[in-house]
C-alpha cells in the first residue's frame, strides 16, 4: 500500500513501527541505489542504508512534511554516504602512514576506493572505472548534482530541493561539471592514445 506524505505523518504519530515498515517497503530501493552510487560497493552500501533507516526511525516523529518524504530520506542517505567516504579516506590515509612507518613500501594512490558496483555489467567495467575516476575529480557539490541527475535520474528541481539551492544554481553546477568531465576525459583520451 502506497501512502501519501500527509497520511504517512498521521500514521507515524499513531503507529510508528507500522509507518516505519511501510517506509522500508517503499523506499529501500531508492535509498540503496543512492548509497550504492556514492560508496560503490554492495556491503558498504548496505551498512550505510541501515544507518540511514536507523536515523529515519529515530527522527520519524520530527518529520513534519516540509519536504517530500523521499527527499528527506535521500538527504539522510547523501549525508551518511559522504560521512562514510570521509571516514574511509581518513582510515586509508592513516593506513599509509602506518605502512610507511613499518617499511618503505610504495604509496597507495590517493582516492582509490575499490568498487564492486553490482549495477555495472562486466563489459562496462572499464567505462565505469574511467567515469568514476573523472567524477571523483569534480568539486563535491558538482559531483553531487551530477550523480543525482545523471545516475539517480532526478530532475533539476528535485536536485535543487535536495541540495537546498535554486534550480538555476543546479543548472550552473551541471554545466561546470559537464565541462570539467569533458576536459578530464579528453585529456585521458589523449594521454592513453585511444
Amino acid at each position: 500500500m502506497q501512502l501519501d506524505d500527509q497520511s504517512f505523518i498521521t500514521l507515524a504519530h499513531e503507529n510508528k513501527d507500522r509507518a516505519f515498515s511501510m517506509l522500508v517497503d517503499a523506499y529501500t530501493g531508492l535509498v540503496f541505489n543512492a548509497c550504492l552510487n556514492t560508496v560503490r560497493n554492495r556491503e558498504d552500501a548496505e551498512d550505510v542504508v541501515q544507518e540511514v533507516f536507523t536515523v529515519a526511525y529515530l527522527s520519524l516523529d520530527k518529520f513534519e512534511g516540509k519536504s517530500k518524504l523521499s527527499t528527506w530520506l535521500y538527504s539522510i542517505a547523501l549525508n551518511k554516504s559522504k560521512e562514510f567516504l570521509r571516514s574511509k579516506t581518513r582510515k586509508k590515509r592513516f593506513g599509509i602512514f602506518t605502512v610507511l612507518e613499518k617499511e618503505d613500501s610504495h604509496l597507495v594512490p590517493e582516492g582509490t576506493i575499490n568498487y564492486e558496483h553490482p549495477g555495472i555489467q562486466l563489459e562496462n567495467k572499464e567505462r565505469a572505472a574511467i567515469f568514476f575516476e573523472a567524477i571523483d575529480k569534480l568539486a563535491e557539490n558538482q559531483r553531487t548534482a551530477y550523480t543525482l541527475h545523471k545516475i539517480d535520474g532526478m530532475s533539476y528541481s528535485e536536485v535543487a530541493e535536495l541540495m537546498g539551492t535554486s534550480v538555476s544554481s543546479v543548472e550552473s553546477l551541471m554545466f561546470r561539471a559537464k565541462k570539467r568531465l569533458k576536459e578530464f576525459l579528453s585529456a585521458y583520451y589523449e594521454k592513453n592514445e585511444l
Partner: protein
Amino acid sequence: MNMNPKEKWIEERMNADSFIERVAPSEELIGRLKAIPSLVNSTYEKVPKKIVWAVAASIAILICVNLISLNKYDSAVKQNTSSNEVSDSYFSYLKQL
C-alpha cells in the same frame, strides 16, 4: 549529429545512466531494516526510567551535601582564624615579657 571518435568516446563515458543499472536490495537487507525498531527499542529500554531518575536524584543530593559541607567548613575556618587573632592580640603583652 556526426561526432568524431574522440567525442563519441567521451559522450559514451559521460552518459553514466547507460551503463549503471539500478540494483534491487537483497531480502536480507530488508530483513535487517525491518528489525531496526525492535533493536532500537530494546537498546533504549534496557535501563528502566525509574532507575535513571533515582541515579540522577542521588547524584544531585550528593552534590548538594558536598556544597553545604564545604560552605560550613569554610565559615568554621573563618571563625576559628578570627578567634585566634583576638586571643593573640589580648595576650600579646605576655609575649613581650
